[in-house]
Symmetry: C2
Subunit: 362 residues, 2 copies
Amino acid sequence: MKRRQFVGGLAAAATLSACAKNDTDCNVGAAASQETFEWSCVTSWPPKFPGLGMAPENLATRVEKASAGRLKIKVYGAGELVPAFEVFDAVSRGTVEMGHDASYYHKGKVDAAQFFAAIPFGMTNLELNGWLYYGGGMALWRELYAPFGLVPFPTGNTGVQMGGWFNKEINTADDLKGLKMRIPGLGGEVLRRAGGTPVTLPGSEIFTALQTGSIDATEWVGPYNDASFGLHKAARYYYYPGWQEPGPGLETIINADAWNSLPADLQEIVSTTCQAITTDMAAEYTNGNAMSLQQLKNDPNVELRRFPTAVIDLLRSIAQDVVEELMAADPAAAKIGKAYFEYLDVVAANSRIAEQAYLSTR
Amino acid sequence: MKRRQFVGGLAAAATLSACAKNDTDCNVGAAASQETFEWSCVTSWPPKFPGLGMAPENLATRVEKASAGRLKIKVYGAGELVPAFEVFDAVSRGTVEMGHDASYYHKGKVDAAQFFAAIPFGMTNLELNGWLYYGGGMALWRELYAPFGLVPFPTGNTGVQMGGWFNKEINTADDLKGLKMRIPGLGGEVLRRAGGTPVTLPGSEIFTALQTGSIDATEWVGPYNDASFGLHKAARYYYYPGWQEPGPGLETIINADAWNSLPADLQEIVSTTCQAITTDMAAEYTNGNAMSLQQLKNDPNVELRRFPTAVIDLLRSIAQDVVEELMAADPAAAKIGKAYFEYLDVVAANSRIAEQAYLSTR
């Protein structure tokens, strides 16, 4: 007990000093600074979009409550303050203090950042968090963002996505040839090498493009988000699994100067709330996907289909080439990719006898 | 902006009132109470035991930091203040403010509580959290514990466990007959009906019992915890998957009077930190299991084995009977069990096309 009382005494002394003349109503014994902060958080999501857009909203509400109003965060949807894909730059420049998006959006600027979101045939939600929090991933991520004046925090994960909505059947690898599909990033590059034509479209334009036939197929997220866009009204075949995004992690990025200006208790509140949102978002997606899938299965105009094994085998083989080229072209991607794949080897062996073996018993 | 300024004005007024004569160093603008709390947390785990025991330690450290020392929690290992299985009673009586354990330990006292930890062939980590946070599970849990003066918070999950360590091969269902195995709770009852003899032993006695042959087999947790007990030195066959505990959730329980005495900001810090620990513990287990499994696979004295399908089929069928009897014997278990299985039906359909289908592509 002695040590704890001594620490308590130090904290009390700090409070005395902060409260100067020791006003009797300014209770002694706790050291919370009373300085207040008002931050802006820009995001890549439609405002309050289910899952993705609710994460920064929930983060802001909970941080404000946990800090008794000492840190207030105002959340902006994509385009409200800066465009969807300029979150990284806005936070890096200090235009705003905080952003919420996915690190694979920084492709072309910080290619290696893609390993912290999703890699085709890569880590799942649980595996990614094992790597980030206990396998050395966070140290690599912080190092990668430091030159940009950014501090990253994993904040949410959508879980395994769906392969997407198709108006053409995919029975053999040949059916990918000429396929015009909305699929961004590394997955899009894989499709291109398989003979398809990847297209990048913002979420808001997907439905119309699919309905008018200007694209043959699209991936988006999973049943929860896909149904909210009405994609089942624009395509017949719903393919699984989402080989291109097996558990994309989202990120909160904080301007380093803003982060350093926070007292230690507010820093802890922010980082802990980000980690809580990861549990919360996974729960929202698990529930939302399950409920939406049940409805889609009852829709006579929807056919749920599994990608044929030969198609998956081809895509996996191409994905390996694509990621190897990414690593060969950039030293940071080489370093982080090496750590990622060494970890994936070990963690995937465990997932086979744990999650995969268990799920096959039900 | 007007509304926010008005709210800010109210908060400032509250602080002014708290700080009475408005000492200049007692900054205006935030409403954090300066009252301090010192809590005790009793647990069912050996002190600082990997995963299970680290969760309450991490919770305490982070809550103290996030609250700037206003809420200090001292964590006690099993037996240090109360025995491992008396956590529920100690917190209910108010002997201590907080406990960390697993709700299936309350079998015999609150049978229905088992649904919030693990059910044989039941929900995984991600599925359980979907139910608790977004599928109505938390409301049922709070209702169940209210008569005991307890408020529950999900806090950690070990993920899919292992089937266990065996000194006898399990090739057919007949090999379960006469098997003396350390396996508690519903899993133990399933083994008993399959012809085995379930034994309950605290963790600390498992190794010796297995080594001396007083038991033929044991389940414990998974590679991370099992290896730390040295179980691979006392048995040859390591069976998977852990049908008996497919993703047990741990709980923090807080005495209702203690909970109600906390100001709103400290309540938010506690509940958010509990949710963060769920991400953190899953990451610790994912990493620890993967690393330990890799070592065990290189041990020439260990044989990794999958339970034969016929054995799994028999156990699943018996498990259904056991859980149906649990529900028939207790109205609360009937109500909560009905909600659990209705949810499981829907969420498992999604896991099949998401996690399970994806993992099978790698």
